[in-house]
Amino acid sequence: MFAIRISAPERATPGEIVELKALIRHPQESGFRLNARGVPIPRDILTRFVCLYNDQQIFAANLYPGVSANPFLSFHTRATRTGTLTFRWTDQDGESYEDSVELVVA
């Protein structure tokens, strides 16, 4: 269960700066911790986040073991035309989780 929460305005005027927020449920296990028996807990992290606006990349981030669990990202973009905003996270094994929202620009 990878819950994702996205916050983006539904409508914007052309040229408007909009704030996008994205939160994903993920343990971001750093790989440096030991369990109760002293055995290292294997690393399990998201390594990459990208945001696409009509399939064009507008924001990307590399995530490392120092990033907290359930990482929260907030950034801005300029609304240019009506389209789809896709938020995609990729974990260390290449598996990806994504969600998208529609933005109406008028």
Binding site: M1, A3, R5, S7, K21, L23, R25, P27, Q28, S68, A69, N70, F72, S74
Partner: protein, 275 residues
């Protein structure tokens, strides 16, 4: 070992340094505990744990989007509406919509009329599953139980705690009160000594809160996860090096009831964010 001992000593010294011995009060009627000289928390000075947080953490709780506790609330909403084949979902009885159970969490823990046992919100959800949905009880701290509890409690967000004060509940709350006032663990501390007598003082770089449970299940930054009030109680017990009780123990539920009565009047903040 020596490190642990040094840390324990440091904690004791830290507390001893900042905890004045309770000053003898000439008027015994103001004593919270007759004959002990201990003073209970004044009812007109209740402060939610929120008041002791850093502004950044407060902002995290205030923003319904960035509050990570809402990840569990969302999950609970899905589970509330889902049913297994041939069995009712939670929503089939309680109604759909995000306010179907508004105000309910404020009245827990309470005495279950049919069994006479004290149950908290988690226990009530599990009773519903067993009695009406023909499903097995969910484990404490499982994603599903945390989600459902957070979803139901979130509907009472902003409402005042209105705990059960019926005669059987008061008798059970007495057990919780005893636990609260009993010194335990290698550090020999009671809940009362930190959360009634020393709140507002510093302990290991943190400010001691009054120990209210009105934000739980809460997202603790230390856990990087949502957790129940009982998980918090177990952490405090472990913190004073006492053996924590198992999850769901009746004594812990009684402590939850005592805490709810002690915090009566504070608003529910679930899902809160705590350090």
């Amino acid at each position: 070992m020596s490190l642990i001992r040094a840390a324990a000593l440091g904690l004791l010294l830290g507390l001893a340094g900042c905890t004045d011995t309770p000053s003898p009060d000439p008027d015994p009627s103001t004593h919270g505990e007759a004959g002990t000289g201990w003073t209970a928390l004044p009812a007109d000075d209740l402060q939610s744990g929120y008041a002791f947080l850093q502004p950044d953490t407060q902002a995290l709780q205030d923003d319904d989007f960035s509050n990570p506790g809402y990840l569990w609330v969302d999950r609970g909403a899905q589970l509330f509406a889902t049913s297994e084949v041939g069995e009712p979902s939670c929503a089939s009885c309680h109604g759909a919509g995000d306010a179907a159970l508004a105000g309910v969490a404020a009245r827990f823990p309470k005495v279950d009329p049919s069994s006479g046992a004290l149950i908290n919100l988690e226990g009530r959800i599990n009773l519903c599953r067993e009695r009406h949905q023909n499903r097995s009880a969910l484990a404490y701290e499982s994603e599903a139980l945390l989600g459902l509890t957070a979803y139901v409690a979130e509907q009472s967000r902003g409402m005042s705690l209105a705990p059960d004060r019926s005669a059987p509940a008061m008798a059970l709350a007495e057990t919780g009160r005893d636990y609260f006032f009993t010194q335990r663990g290698q550090l020999n501390l009671s809940c009362h000594q930190c959360h009634d007598q020393s709140w507002g003082k510093r302990l290991r770089g943190d400010t001691i809160s009054q120990g209210h449970g009105n934000a739980f299940p809460a997202y603790r930054l230390e856990w990087q996860s949502l957790g129940s009030l009982q998980r918090r109680l177990r952490d405090c017990d472990t913190g004073v090096r006492a053996e924590p009780l198992p999850y769901g123990d009746q004594v812990y539920v009684a402590v939850e009831l005592y805490l709810a009565q002690r915090a009566a009047g504070l608003d529910i903040e679930t899902p809160g964010v705590r350090r």
